[in-house]
Symmetry: C2
Subunit: 653 residues, 2 copies
């Protein structure tokens, strides 16, 4: 098999510029701001010292001007929604700082901005931005993390005093894992079932003071500490219980639902469900930030592991007097290089997602918003799992050195572990993506009626249509020209077509399967549940296709031929290692022949060997702030040691 | 498809007895000893306090009589090698304690026992057993972790003073990650290149004092601290550098090589390489203990996740007024139940491995010893990866609760993460297994000559032949009666045959591939390296077969019909989920049809649903000491909360 050529040299600046993308300015600003600022992650500190340090670091960020990027110009911000997401993902080397920033400015500030109205913006946003008012985003409850539509905290309107009474009816309803709650938060956006005049209107958000200026809890507010966690111990997660806490009527963040002084409820959106999911949709930025940050942590872990792997040697190399550099082993390449290729793919997909977020935040286009929500859910799941898997692999690839705190991987692993859970459990998110895709098959479920339909398909997205991403015409052109000969595994059209057909086949099959089972008048839970593996697969293959199209579009934007050629090989490795991983499905459904499957494996091996010389340059090009790379094994210690050993061995020699 | 029946009831005592196996007595002794002893894992402590606590706990273990199990009767031990491994794996709830015990009694004490002679036994073993002499096992160096045959520390004999001079020539040669070195160790078994009369005789072990009675370092010994690690912070890992340290001639552990007063070297084994691997072989107990402990931690993680999953509810169940118990979701079952089935399979394989270790330690049979080394290497790799994967999955399955330290999973994850690295890097171990298997194909490499041969096949095992495990005749009988009809996926003979044929096919193919490539007069490194993925696969499928045969033999020992029936289903789930995972290979090599592959997936779903009601009983039957289960989510808190919520919801009507 002829593996397509990898260029010997390419333009690293060209590549870095391409990866920096639309928000290159924000990336440069953060790099510059961090350079002069000491922001150590603090994993060696005890909990209280770590929390104190993280709060201090937030104040340093305020001075840098980074937090204001995403806030409205009217309140002194920059009004750059996309930029705010990109700036957070640049904090990958100190995840307590990133998460606490995300809580303060993304979740708390973001909710006031998205769900509140002018009176809230004017009164609170300035002091949220400058950290005078540290706050919480109190949605999750002990009993309801994924199913937030059914959380149990109540906010009952009392027209006599024109107040809401916020209350926690039982232990399952207390607010749980709330960042900023254990130590620093003075106010919270509290999500609660709104009741007025004896009628329930679904979940709404209110501003509730938690602590006074001296840090003492407000009357009726009970705060406790979630205690030590696997990681992120610089973030003070806590629990909040409300005992008939009264707040003024104006505390309601009333953009999507309001209560008049006499208790009359009004909303621009009639359906309780649609209203709730519209509100949730405006908070999508947090989920996108987590995906972006997860992507960055995988890059950082790969940079550490790849730098070490190009210096570390082990076992004599037969026929030479030297030991073998570990990245020369195929097994080591296979651990790290497909993960690097996937990091590239996800980088371009994330860039596209942030662009959509930014553009939708300006245009307000409802259909684009639905698609954004689906993409955000899917990419968050795929990217956070990628981070978990990649950091684990990097740790193992660094052996015992990877287990030492000084080499950063332990902290990265521990801090990111919850990324697959918070801002939406990954399995639940994939299910949402699949349900959204099934709305395309609405007609097939007609016989089930509206209620039956809702059980199977989107109960929160209006539905996301399977259609081409931004790269529409390019992708279609490549597919139309797809080859199917011996070397087709490297043909982009063939690859795109394979992903495309897999998605359609899985979705068609799922729709048929559900309809068939439902037709039997079976228990609706059982029908959907028995196909749950199929449902999750539908979401995964959909995201695979979206990610690949983003990668293809990204390569297309590259104007330097050698750099583009290099990226084509990285893209090949992403595609072919993805196919290899799922070749069970492709073979089972006779989409590839056994012979072709073996060729894919051979191609992955060849691409790994071809890209190996460029591994470190490829990972450097992501341009993570240099401050975050502190691991001695990745910053020269191993090189120095190998040199000393070889010098000594020669004296014996 | 008809999924074979799972019994409604079975005899839990029968199952527990079967799992306790040959060392039921040791297991009972440890359970009893732990019941009255407080041994909290201490993950909330700072490093110094954690180390101090762990040392204290080791002294408590001494009182329990557990450490003496594996030591010779002559020195007051019980002489029960197998029992000593089993006792360590019972410490899964406090891994700093387990690892520090393993260092002191398994590695340090074990090396003195295995490599020393009577003079060392009499002088040192009693004070090693009672912890008067805390010690280290100083093998790994900064520059050589996997390739320990080439470590660089030297021990040069000086006949003038009848002393060895132990020396660290450069930084790469310092001893690294050595347990007990940073704080408590007073003596070390040091592995070094032995030089006498200017001649090198390969790696040998010597006893070198590290600290005096007051804890001060001995002259020429430089000790430093590896610092904070991802986990196991109760173990004081450190670095040791020797600056021309002199020890008496009698310090050499001289069972396999000795130096006379005049400097003459002698050994019962002529070849330097064979001598070294024979010495390593006697230390196999440590590797087997790690496999056993890894298996236990996976069981503990599964017990936490399964108990929580049977109490936790999320999302309304359509058609009822209740929320769905999360273990009722197929996706949740698929996360946890195949892992539970694999834990069963590995449990039986580990039991068999410990038996072989024990019996070989009595018989001294060399061929059995080689097979033991291969099995130990393979099972250590497979079981530690299983633990890493399962604990990760359990953490995610418990959502945010799984991220809280109080729920144990963070500590389990952090502590076990290095298991895939220490006592042999998993990738390196699998390669050793494969090389051992290739010695069966010796003839095919004849043209390469002895040197060429050595590059491809066992350079350390004499070779392990592919042959049936203990269950020989039973397995052969089942294979002979293998069916191949519609429902064959549940036929044990068909399953065994599939695993068997896969192993032979992969190995045959590998041997052919290597010979073909080698024939071209190519770079021997490149030949082997280009096939490295194939090499690792050969080892994996070999271990899969060994594990399955152990499981089948285990079920055969069960006399209660209902319990046996239940185990048959667990075994089906292990086999079929393994096939499903590797169905790419089976399809690619036309060992199963696409139709059969789909049937396998359907069978896995059906088995998950069938076993779901017994999940908690199945994991309880492993009989881990109850002291280790402290997670509130697994010990009633979630049940209580759900009850309170439902009671409250009912009052709302």
């Amino acid at each position: 098999m002829d593996i397509p050529k990898t260029p010997a040299r390419f333009d690293a600046t060209e590549l870095a510029t391409l990866l920096d993308g639309r928000w290159a300015g924000v990336r440069a600003k953060v790099r510059e701001a961090l350079e002069g600022t000491e922001l150590p992650p603090g994993d060696h500190l005890d909990t209280e010292a770590h929390r104190a340090q993280t709060l201090e670091q937030l104040h340093l960020l305020v001075k840098s001007g980074i937090p204001e990027i995403g806030f409205p110009v009217a309140q002194g911000g920059r009004g750059d929604v996309g930029g705010s997401v990109v700036s957070l993902e640049m904090l990958a080397g100190n995840l307590s700082l990133m998460v606490k920033s995300g809580v303060q400015w993304g979740l708390f500030g973001g909710a006031v901005q998205a769900l509140g109205t002018e009176r809230h913006h004017e009164r609170y946003l300035p002091s949220i931005m400058n950290l005078d008012l540290p706050g919480c985003f109190a949605m999750t409850e002990t009993g309801h993390g994924s199913d937030v539509q059914h959380l149990r905290t109540t906010a009952t309107y009392d027209p006599a005093t024109e107040e809401f009474v916020v209350h926690t009816p039982h232990e399952s309803a207390r607010k749980e894992y709330i960042g900023n709650a254990a130590r620093d938060g003075r106010m919270a956006v509290v999500f609660a079932q709104l009741i007025t005049g004896g009628e329930r209107h679904g979940v709404h958000a209110l501003l509730v003071p938690l602590r006074d200026e001296q840090g003492a809890p407000m009357p009726g507010v009970h705060l406790s500490d979630c205690g030590r966690k696997a990681g992120l111990n610089g973030v003070d997660n806590g629990r909040i219980t409300f005992d008939q806490v009264r707040v003024p009527r104006e505390s309601l963040l009333n953009r999507y639902g309001d209560v008049a002084a006499d208790g009359t409820y009004s909303s621009p959106i009639e359906s309780t469900g649609k209203r709730f999911f519209t509100m949730l949709g405006t908070l999508i930025r947090g989920r996108i930030s987590v995906a972006g940050t997860a992507g960055s942590t995988a890059k950082l872990a790969l940079e550490i592991a790849l730098r070490y792997a190009t210096a570390r040697r082990q076992f004599d190399r037969p026929g030479t007097s030297e030991e073998t550099v570990v990245l020369d082993y195929l097994a080591h390449q296979r651990k790290l290089l497909p993960a690097l290729a996937k990091s590239y793919a996800l980088h371009f997909a994330q860039e596209q997602l942030v662009q959509t977020l930014h553009d939708v935040s300006v245009s307000g286009d409802e259909r684009a918003q639905r698609e954004l929500e689906s993409r955000a859910a899917g990419l968050k799941a795929v990217t956070t799992w990628h981070a978990t898997h990649t950091i684990q692999t990097a740790r193992e690839a660094c052996g015992g050195a990877g287990y030492l705190a000084e080499n950063q991987l332990p902290q990265l692993k521990a801090d990111t572990d919850v990324f697959t859970t918070f801002e939406g459990d990954n399995t639940v998110l994939l299910q949402l993506v699949a349900k959204g895709l099934l709305t395309d098959y609405k007609d097939q479920f007609d016989e089930l009626g509206t209620v039956g339909m809702a059980r199977f398909v989107a109960d929160q997205f209006v539905g996301t249509v399977i259609e081409r991403t931004a790269a529409k015409s390019l992708v279609q052109r490549l597919i139309d020209a797809a080859r199917d000969d011996e070397d087709a595994v490297f043909d982009r059209g063939w690859q795109l077509k394979l992903f495309d057909e897999r998605e359609r086949h899985v979705l068609d099959g799922l729709a048929r399967r559900l309809r068939r089972a439902a037709g039997k008048d079976a228990d609706p839970f059982a029908v959907f549940n028995n196909a749950q593996d199929h449902v999750l697969r539908a979401a995964r293959v959909h995201i695979d296709r979206v990610v690949l199209e983003a990668f293809v579009a990204g390569v297309e934007r590259c104007s330097d031929p050698a750099t583009a050629q290099l990226l084509e090989r990285v893209c090949d490795l992403y595609v072919l290692s993805t196919i290899e991983e799922d070749r069970g499905w492709f073979l089972e459904h006779e989409r590839i022949t056994p012979r072709r499957a073996k060729a894919v494996t051979e191609a992955v091996n060849g691409l790994c060997q071809g890209l190996r010389p460029h591994a470190v340059e490829l990972v450097e090009a992501f341009g993570l702030p240099r401050q975050w790379l502190t691991a001695p094994i990745a910053t020269g210690a191993e090189h120095a040691r190998q040199d000393a050993q070889r010098a000594h061995d020669r004296t014996l020699g």
